[in-house]
Symmetry: C2
Amino acid sequence: MIKTPYLLFLGDAPDQLSAKVAQGIRDWRPENAVGQFRMEGCEADVGLPDMSLEEARAAGAKTLVIGVANRGGVINQDWKKVLVTALEGGFDLASGLHNLLRNERDLAAVAQATGRDLHDVRVPEVRYPIASGRKRSGRRVLTVGTDCSMGKMYTSLSLEREMRARGMSCTFRATGQTGILITGEGVPLDAVVADFMSGSIEWLTPENNAEHWDIVEGQGSLYHLSYSGVTLALIHGSQPDALVLCHEPTREHVRGMPGYALPGLEELKELALKLARIANPDCAAIGFSINTHKMTEAGALSYLAELESRFGLPACDPCRFGAEALVDVLEAMT
Amino acid sequence: MIKTPYLLFLGDAPDQLSAKVAQGIRDWRPENAVGQFRMEGCEADVGLPDMSLEEARAAGAKTLVIGVANRGGVINQDWKKVLVTALEGGFDLASGLHNLLRNERDLAAVAQATGRDLHDVRVPEVRYPIASGRKRSGRRVLTVGTDCSMGKMYTSLSLEREMRARGMSCTFRATGQTGILITGEGVPLDAVVADFMSGSIEWLTPENNAEHWDIVEGQGSLYHLSYSGVTLALIHGSQPDALVLCHEPTREHVRGMPGYALPGLEELKELALKLARIANPDCAAIGFSINTHKMTEAGALSYLAELESRFGLPACDPCRFGAEALVDVLEAMT
């Protein structure tokens, strides 16, 4: 578990997009971040107060989170200076970069000398069990999609926000690097060893009160040949009561695979339910989360209305129009 | 790749069953083993000549393969003496034990000093790619089952034997520890990191001549909540042209999960094909491999006949009655 609140390190981010981890934290857990730290030449701004390391410490920050992608996969010397000073000043460090903090000798040495923690959230820090298949109390909703990278994390976080606003008992369960940095905990599922994938998700979504909802962040897609096994492990490890079906209507083919068309939503619904019902015969598909960012507002609204009438289920774009209709269904199930 | 031929180490095996890795090598690659090495008190015998280390070296053996499960997960001192002497005598060592040879300090030190290799086949030794989804030339047949541990490896090896007997071009592709020790190579899929599972199977089953068959050893089951993700990665990584559906009719519930019934064969056929056709729309289920070892001969034969008439597909118990009818279909597809 990563200590909060954070100071968000934006480094020398060349543009706003490269700071999307910081932006995610700012959007979904603003209470977890006291400010942002920007170096000379930084072109990103997530709208938090600019702070020095000293100012952030005084404001209570405990961890410096690397909220920016690094260029060429290298932690450069300018970054290093800041990171070393942060460790010396009492900060832990947290990162989702591919190249690990712990493998940087200077950082590892300073962390050890100062007794600070280096959190590389790409690496599992828990010995997960093999899945038992045992039914747990409490309820679980999982996002599944026609493809990768179409908004499953944002959908899950939107559900959580709306459920909390209604006073429902719920927890967002992160299964990827960004989600883990946003919330401070979770399972980096793509880095878990095959035999323990499903067990890691059982571990992440334990027994709970009957009315509590775990909102499990989906990964990959049953239709993406590279990651479908990860998706199925999520479905069978979380034993969902409810599935939210995610789609981006303007996407032309499966991510990175021009030869593969996306499935239709009927097809996704049928296949995901069939697989989920192996674990939980009562699982239901409760509605759609549609990423309409490439559509006009009128086009998006008419697409959503068409889906609702075709399936008799709510269809939302949570980022654009809110997730109320999906939460209505979850609330009625509680 | 493990150097052949082997000397099979049976140690102090308390019974025949504990030597099943050695038995598998003896059954399926007798040409890979010059003899067996048994210690005092060994109660297993795989029917190969008993040899000392010196005799086996003289007969050409290059690797001492641990063909027996160890008691309590410990490599004891009696074993150690033999293993150290083997390394000093010029043998590599190979093992599928959970506790790794490389983690035994004395073995690691002697191996380094003598320049011998320690093969722990539970640990991937390759940096596998992320799956590309690209279609490869050559043909692939995969075994899938209603549950784990019901004969997918033996089915695959039976297919290979029959196909070779007919002069067909084919390769058994091992995906588990025993299969890897039998053939000397393969992918230990249960130990591969999630993101690379499907890619490891693409790596294992590369482009080949149009008439060549890869016979891919199945793992887990779509219906086993602990391992279903591994099974789907195999289906999507191998892009099979043909599936052989495996079942054990006398099994009462999914292995280790009393609450979960096995699916019917109609259900397995439909689900496995639906998933396989995401990768290869032309994939066909070509028949059944049934583990009838708990049935009478008459009961087994009538069960197989009933399946054949119900599905219009061949149904065999390869270990009991041969795999000819399945290979007839594969040969007709070539």
